[in-house]
Symmetry: C2
Subunit: 200 residues, 2 copies
């Protein structure tokens, strides 16, 4: 199982953004939407051994986290408009009083809380985070059973997240000489992972 | 200079698609829009040594080709909505009678014609196309001066395109054990290219 945690420092945790201007009205949720595609979708279907978490730290409802599980989610489409609609619906889904999460439908869950909630959900894992000064992924041993990759948005990670990742002893890895978009980073992580452990 | 030619078998060559449902109304132009981002954009800017061609073979106005040049294009945004708006405007730009192309603005040009028009514009180059049975890119020598990569949409290449690529002696390369989306393929091509020849 590969899990990807994308932290959106300003990405809105409430559904009040415009589907016609996601990039301009959502604190750059568009970056996180594209990460869903990169983490879960391949040519003709979904990756069943992948989970993506979108940690939404922006807006009045923050922090909240959307979790999408490739093994059980259905009817995901790769275009940004469809993904924006899906996440908006999930963020608008009525909560059950007393429960800290809401399931929109199988495989798509919204949790109250941010990074700490994600860490509790992850359980014991090998943590990695993307850093230009990290070790080149092509030269590193990778946990292929239970890796968790932490990625930032265009603003990178905030100080509190960096401190927490250090505390977790997350390994710093680098993907090449050019700093790429978050979704491209996920694509590159998958490729190295696929090459070491091709899907059955 | 790296150039990417993405062939959309059904992608519309006319501007009459809905910005609110690009994936459903444009013959999957959304795939080609995401390829623009992957080909031209990195964390904090545009790749100035890249050009992407979108070959649009769908609809009544086909074939037409949109060319976007990273070296001179400005104000490109990575989200699909912005890219859809840009391409729609380019396809709607009034033609000058007698000219087989129209420039929307610097770096963004629409040509009448499809693959043959692109080949004429490319001039002498080393051609590659993505094929699951091709040689692994990590084991191959790559032309780093003047490579051109041909990619298909979710339907792959049509027979005529395959025949033409064979005639051109395009080299078949493979990116890994999993068949990925067109934009992911571009990301992987860039990463291998960046590693061999990091930008200055």
């Amino acid at each position: 199982m590969r899990r990807f945690v994308v932290i959106g420092q300003r990405a809105t945790a409430s559904p009040d953004f415009s589907l016609n201007d996601v990039a301009g009205t959502s604190g750059r949720l568009d970056v996180l939407l594209r990460s869903i595609r990169a983490a879960l979708m391949i040519s003709h279907g979904l990756r069943t051994d992948a989970v993506v978490y979108l940690v939404l730290l922006g807006g009045h409802a923050a922090p909240r986290t959307v979790r999408i599980e490739g093994a059980i989610a259905r009817f995901l489409r790769p275009d940004e408009r469809s993904l924006a609609t899906l996440v908006q619906k999930a963020l608008a889904a009525p909560k059950t009083p007393g429960y800290p999460f809401v399931t929109l439908r199988r495989g798509i869950t919204v949790f109250d809380g941010g990074l700490e909630t994600v860490l509790a959900d992850l359980g014991p894992s090998t943590f990695y985070w993307l850093d230009e000064n990290g070790a080149d992924i092509r030269n590193e041993a990778l946990d292929l059973e239970n890796p968790v990759f932490f990625l930032g948005d265009p603003q990178g990670f905030d100080e509190a997240t960096l401190a927490r990742l250090s505390e977790l002893r997350a390994e710093r890895i680098c993907l090449g000489p050019v700093s790429v978009h978050t979704d491209d980073a996920i694509t590159l992580l998958w490729n190295d992972s696929d090459r070491r452990s091709p899907p059955a």
